[in-house]
Symmetry: C2
Subunit: 451 residues, 2 copies
């Protein structure tokens, strides 16, 4: 089955996201999908909280006057901003944009908060919906008109060096985040012509989907003083001089969820890393006449012993095969079958979603084996994803790039050469130049067909 | 100081919400305010999750055609809906509303999800931003144009009785929620002329702010089949007939946060119930020359022993008085002063924010006394709030109502009489008729000046 077809089907069958909402590019996070989203972004929040970021919440609406203040920034967004023009039947004096991203909203307030170098650094983030009037083909959780989940962090610093250091910290946080999810990536510095509108430079995380197309799943921008000069975020330095704040911002969206689905899933459905699985262990009581009570009681006992996990007993009155099928689609990492024979022999049967492997253990080993197995599932999911990712990386000369890209898809790395690193290269290879990257210690230009 | 002035000042000084955003009725949740919001709505989420509600996320945008489908509903909202009319420079074919509330968005999808009685009940909720183009005076967290936090639950049932039962469950959940926050309330059935647009009836939770004005802080609506008929949420009954779903919805907004602030606070600042306090215990090391290390180490030791709480050591290099002052503004329930004399005597000094009381305890009793004191603070905050609330309730005849309201403010209860329970009554008493309510076993008409 073709990837995009598989992907649409899995969103529906695993009950993640319903695309039937009557606006193009807008859909509904269903309960199961919402939980995956919740656990995923909790990981990110935790990483940000632990590194001294503070969560805030800014308004959705941005006055046109504010959004248009930074020239390059508005140029980058003006074709895709949704505009609110009326309140009730009253035309508004100033049009209001639905935030495509919140630099301008946040930096207006930063001017009010930053007076002196001791007010810095400021490290904020919010998790909000943002909007882009996409004219390209929309795709659920990949290219949305309402991006339902955008974690955007914004920082301000007293020196250029601190901003540089912050970029590194942000990259470190995103590495940990994607590593935790088992999502492989390349870290690529975007070319000058493709950086964030208003940034000094942009560092991106790119992964590769099973169809061989690259997809940007996170970005970190060093904004220098572009915005702080425009928004007058000025402070008194320790020597009594005035300077403008040095800023960074970095974001991760619903594409993190799309990646978990796309990168780990297989023909049977999702394969969720335990850390984000709404159900980590599903228990299936195998009911035989006359032994119902014994089986149900054992299922409850096992659930109780595993209560540190997210456990679900599937006691629906349908045949076990149908249950297996349902939970495979939903990607539950570990299944436990409880049947009379196992009970009589003091055994428990574990079934791994990732490998399909059956493991029969002694009842007494339950907690230990479940812990080990879940850990191993996380590890194996990450390793397999990495293996597939590596197969999609091809190193070749620029002359072969176009052909190799057609043949092998994925990301093509051509040895870095300043004389070819130009926007024209995109035409030559008929693909996107992702930027410059290090791979196994060498410097390359990365090229790919992208989402 | 007048309440509204106190309220504005406390939002700013306790760093809860910054009103200086350049759109009327839109502001910024600051880190401290965001945390209060987070803990508050986590309580509500937990209550909803435990009672079988599932969290989802629907789009912000609602096509005009959908919003206008239910006649009464759109009539109730048409003057205050924000309209998106353009994507980039392109006029949209169909105007898009920023959700004022999500009935129409959700019920469009329910039609797709509900086919047969076994698909019911469905109990969903989401926590989102909603929008009202308020022409009245806006007030931070009380009357916003961007309501930053709206928990809206939506349920669908197979029978009228189940919907009735759901209304009761919702009321029970909201009672627990406000009880946990120590916020007193009356539960009042709104009059026919003031129910939710499209509902059979509306039950509201009203509290009273220190200025004596009543404020609606939660509502529960029985929608009957109004929306299900319009949106064709039809299902096959157990007998093979067709019926339309019976629906309810219920909501709580940022006003929950406003209530925590307004109802518990005093002239010194916030008084936060421990359950929602971002910092539950603040430790102030009292530094004396030559004894710095001893004090700091003891502060750390105490923090470690209290790690099940949200504890903060304030080691700023400023005088203790300034620290006391700061944490009083921020409403931290319990302060612990650590000084050399206490340490030498094996004592610890606790200071309650609610009563100002100092409690000197033995070091060995720390965990026990802190637990007891925090529990007592929760209890006392609730009791004091209730006492003040009761003083604001006046029972009198309808003829005295207007005068009593002017004199005593708060909520006036006049004995229920069908012949006076009409919209005209509002003119007569020059106030809002909140509806009918039971108070100490008797039935009344509740009247108040409102927010």
């Amino acid at each position: 089955m073709e990837f995009s077809e598989w992907y649409s089907e899995i969103l529906e069958r695993a009950e993640i996201y319903d695309v039937r909402y009557p606006i193009k590019g807008c859909g509904v996070y269903l309960p199961y999908g919402f939980k995956i989203r919740k656990y995923t972004f909790e990981i990110l929040s935790k990483l940000l909280d632990e590194s001294g970021h503070e969560q805030v919440l800014f308004p959705l609406l941005i006055p046109e006057t504010l959004l248009a203040k930074e020239g390059e920034h508005i140029k980058g967004f003006e074709d895709e901003v949704y505009w609110v023009t009326h309140g009730g039947k009253t035309p508004l004096d100033v049009k209001l944009a639905l935030r495509p991203t919140s630099e301008t909203a946040i930096y207006y307030m930063l001017k009010l908060w930053v007076k002196v170098h001791t007010d810095l650094p400021i490290k904020l983030y919010q998790i909000v919906n943002t909007f882009r009037y996409e004219t390209k083909h929309t795709r659920p959780l990949i290219r949305l008109r309402e991006i339902m989940t955008f974690k955007e962090a914004h920082t301000a610093h007293a020196t250029k060096e601190e901003a540089e250091k912050q970029v590194k910290e942000a990259i470190g946080i995103y590495k940990k985040f994607f590593d935790t999810l088992g999502i492989p990536y390349l870290i690529i510095k975007r070319p000058e012509w493709d950086k964030f509108p208003g940034a000094d430079y942009t560092i991106a995380f790119d992964t590769i989907f099973p169809d061989g197309r690259a997809i940007q799943i996170g970005t970190v921008h060093n904004l220098g003083q572009h915005f702080s000069k425009t928004f007058e975020i000025e402070f008194e330095t320790p020597t009594g001089d005035k300077d403008y704040a040095y800023q960074t911002c970095y974001g991760i969206s619903d594409r993190a969820i799309a990646s978990i689905i796309a990168i780990h899933g297989d023909e049977k459905g999702l394969k969720l890393p335990p850390v984000v699985a709404p159900i980590q262990v599903v228990i299936i009581p195998l009911i035989f006449k006359g032994k119902e009570e014994m089986v149900i009681n054992k299922a409850k006992e096992v659930a109780e012993r595993l209560k540190e996990y997210r456990v679900h007993i599937d006691d629906r009155d349908i045949r076990p095969g149908k249950k297996y099928y349902d939970w495979e689609i939903k990607g539950v990492p570990l299944r436990i079958d409880i049947g009379p024979r196992d009970i009589e022999e003091g055994k428990i049967t574990l079934v791994r979603r990732d490998t399909g492997e059956k493991i029969v253990i002694e009842e007494s080993e339950l907690e230990e084996k479940v812990r080990e197995t879940l850990e191993d599932i996380s590890k194996r999911l990450k390793e397999s994803a990495k293996e597939r990712f590596k197969k999609f990386i091809t190193i070749c000369d620029v002359e072969e790039a176009k052909e190799m890209l057609e043949k092998k898809r994925g990301i093509i790395l051509v040895p870095y050469d300043n004389s070819i690193y130009k926007e024209e290269l995109e035409e030559k290879v008929d693909a996107k130049v992702l930027g410059e990257t290090e791979y196994e210690g060498k410097k390359y230009i990365a090229i790919a067909k992208t989402y």
